[in-house]
């Protein structure tokens, strides 16, 4: 992974956006993170930007376009189809997780209760070598 990875977080929950970005900042202030409040806005951002993010963190339950729909759109033929997508959601049923994996999701993390736990999870994903 690059020294300062770029990240796209797609999540409609403002609190979770804050917790997520705080955790990233805790790891490394230089990590650049853009935020989209739903799948549709996420695709718009990917379309508009010249450079693709290194990782996409995707919530599942969102208005307008949910996580599963986003995966279907992007993994089918989008230019960002090779960007690893990590499902970042509350505990969900196995069926939805399986579906997301079938659609090409790279990994799945449950939003943890402890901030320190989130920091650890993200660190592991962004800098696997140092874990």
């Amino acid at each position: 992974m690059l020294n300062t990875p770029t990240i796209l977080l797609i999540d409609d929950d403002i609190d979770d956006q804050e917790i997520f970005t705080s955790a990233l900042a805790f790891i490394d202030n230089a990590i650049s993170c853009t935020i989209a409040p739903n799948g549709y806005e996420g695709i718009m951002q990917l379309n508009d930007s010249d450079a693709l993010p290194d990782l996409i963190f995707l919530d599942l339950n969102m208005p307008v376009m949910n996580g599963i729909q986003f995966l279907r759109e992007v993994k089918a033929a989008h230019k960002a189809k090779d960007v690893p997508v990590i499902i970042f959601s509350t505990a969900s049923d196995m069926k939805t997780i399986e579906e997301a994996k079938q659609l090409g999701a790279h990994d799945f993390i449950t939003k943890p209760e402890k901030f320190s736990e989130l920091v650890g999870l993200l660190h592991g994903l962004l800098f696997p070598a140092t874990r």
């Binding site: 609190d15 979770d16 917790i19 705080s22 509350t90 505990a91 939003k111 943890p112 209760e113 402890k114 901030f115 320190s116 989130l118």
Partner: protein, 565 residues
């Protein structure tokens, strides 16, 4: 009797067998009519007829009614009776026992009239006693030369035997009539022209009227119908058909009484024949099946009512089932909201609390205490949500029962609690538990909660838990709601813990019901509510028994096999 040969020379006295001889030899000089040579021609002619007739005849002559009779009449007087003294005897002297009967008729004949009597009872002394004899006889006046009635000729015939047969027939017929009359089924007959000539009481009751013998034709009822209500004309009724077509008929029909009341009958008319095979009439036997039909209708109506009730009840159950499914799906919705939406803000409270703590840097112990309380509260809240979710899942249980070895399950649970058991130095005794039809996960939960409780509410140095089992007899007293046709086992969890006041024995099974503050004993107050839910899901019962400080006993009754519909 020296003059006998003289009488024998009279031509009119010739022949006549035994009586002829007696008359010829009789001493007529001693009678009021004198000797035969003095007799008028009319007497002579009459006597000649009497003596020579093969028909029983008897002759009275003169005012004293001096008697003559012939051989044919002789047997009527029997062996030891009036014969032969009756020859030449006066009528009144000969027949004292019946004189009062025959005297009026005799007087009538003296006046010139003939009489006729048929089968008349005339008791006569013969054969040593008075016998009942029946006679058909005629008294005829015999005119003398002056044209006056000189005597009475009796031409008679004893009909005792014939009459006795007739009486037998009359008695037999009376018996037969009584039999017909007393039959519980309606019987009536018609003659060859269709007129009613006999009917019994049951027929009269069935018709609801008294028919006129020899006037009412074909049937004594008011109106007749086929069972579908089509009217039957009397001349086309079953009786008319049986007579006309000379065949047996069998017809279920309705007859209407004059007051409109309908009777449901089965009629069995059949033609009657004489000894030569000619149809002489018809007989009908009618069985009243009105009450039978009414009972049948009532039965059908009650069957229909029952069926309707079953339908209604089925509809109610369907509706209740629908409501249940709806409430189950609402419950699932609720469970989803609880698990997700309620847990979400809770997760954030915990995360932000942690973030707050780290952003504050070093804080006062007071502030730290508040933060710890927030953390503890949210932990408790999280457990509550988890338990409620668990409980709600039990409300709509999956009814998947398999054979579960309770003994294996209890030991698995004991294994799970191994650490706590060792910490508390607890002793657990377990009897061999049976294999029953159950949901293994739920049974595991049930046993876990009970063991957990027994350990939790125990402050002794050596807590003890005894788990015993009893197979219940078929005649055991079962708690309300259990099915007496199933076999049950009773499993008892007895501990030596703090127990509870028996007045709370029911209350402890209510969700969120706590007998102790959560500072004394941890827990959400859902555990025993879950236990009851699980036992109810298994169509069993659970009760608690205790006295404060005496330990608690939980008695669980579970069916060995689930009831199959």
């Amino acid at each position: 009797m020296t003059s006998t040969p003289t009488y024998a020379s009279f031509k009119f006295m010739e022949g006549g067998g035994e009586l002829g001889a007696l008359i010829r030899n009789y001493d007529w000089a001693s009678t009021s009519i004198g000797t035969p040579d003095q007799w008028p021609q009319s007497l002579r002619t009459a006597l000649s007829i009497v003596l020579n007739s093969r028909f029983p005849m008897f002759l009275w002559w003169g005012p004293d009614m001096i008697q003559f009779y012939n051989d044919a009449y002789r047997p009527s007087l029997g062996i030891e009776g009036k014969h032969p003294a009756a020859v030449g005897q006066k009528g009144e002297d000969c027949w004292p026992e019946i004189w009062h009967i025959i005297k009026p008729q005799i007087d009538q004949v003296w006046a010139g009239e003939s009489t006729w009597n048929e089968d008349l009872l005339v008791p006569i002394y013969r054969n040593g006693s008075i016998e009942d004899m029946y006679w058909t006889f005629s008294y005829s006046p015999v005119k003398d030369e002056e044209g006056q009635v000189g005597g009475i000729l009796v031409v008679c015939h004893e009909t005792t035997e014939k009459r006795k047969q007739g009486i037998k027939i009359e008695i037999a017929e009376a018996n037969y009539r009584q039999l017909v009359e007393s039959l519980p089924v309606a019987v009536f007959t018609i003659d060859a022209n269709g007129f009613i000539n006999l009917y019994n009481n049951a027929a009269r009751e069935l018709w609801g009227r008294e028919p006129a013998i020899g006037k009412d034709k074909w049937n004594g009822s008011y109106k007749m119908f086929l069972t579908d209500g089509t009217p039957i004309a009397h001349e086309n009724g079953p009786m008319a058909k049986a007579l006309r077509e000379n065949r047996d008929i069998n017809l279920e029909m309705l007859i209407q009484q004059p007051d409109g009341k309908m009777k449901h009958v089965i009629a069995y008319p059949e033609p009657l024949h004489d000894h030569e095979g000619y149809v002489t009439g018809a007989m009908n036997v009618m069985i009243d099946i009105t009450e039978l039909k009414e009972a049948e209708h009532a039965l059908r109506a009650s069957e229909e009512l029952l069926e309707k009730r079953v339908h209604e009840r089925t509809a109610e159950i369907k509706s209740a089932n629908f409501n249940l499914q709806r409430s189950n799906s609402e419950l699932e919705q609720f469970a989803y909201i609880t698990s997700h939406d309620l847990q979400e803000p809770l997760r954030k409270i915990r995360t932000f609390t942690e973030m707050l703590e780290s952003s504050l840097g070093s804080i006062s112990s007071k502030s730290k205490g508040y933060l710890d309380k927030i953390a503890a509260s949210s932990t408790r809240m999280r457990r509550l949500i988890k338990d409620v979710l668990h409980y709600s899942r039990l409300i709509a249980p999956e009814e998947t029962f398999t054979r579960v070895d309770l003994h294996a399950v209890i030991w698995q649970v004991v294994d799970d609690f191994e650490l706590l058991i060792r910490e508390k130095n607890a002793k657990i005794n377990i009897q061999q538990l049976p294999v029953i039809e159950a949901n293994p996960l739920q049974i595991n939960q049930l046993f876990s909660n009970l063991i957990s409780n027994a350990l939790k509410f125990n402050t002794r140095d050596e807590p003890a838990i005894n788990i015993t089992v009893t197979m219940l007899d078929m005649d055991a007293q079962l708690p309300e709601g259990l099915n007496p046709s199933l076999s049950y086992c009773l499993i008892e969890f007895k501990d030596n813990g703090i127990g509870f006041d028996q007045q709370y024995a029911e209350q402890i099974f209510t969700i969120f019901q706590r007998l102790h503050t959560k500072h004394e004993y941890a827990g959400t107050g859902i555990g025993l509510a879950l236990c009851r839910k699980i036992v109810l899901n298994h169509h069993g019962s659970i009760t608690a028994h205790s006295e404060n400080g005496e330990g608690a006993t939980f008695r669980i009754i579970l069916p060995l096999k689930q009831f199959q519909l």
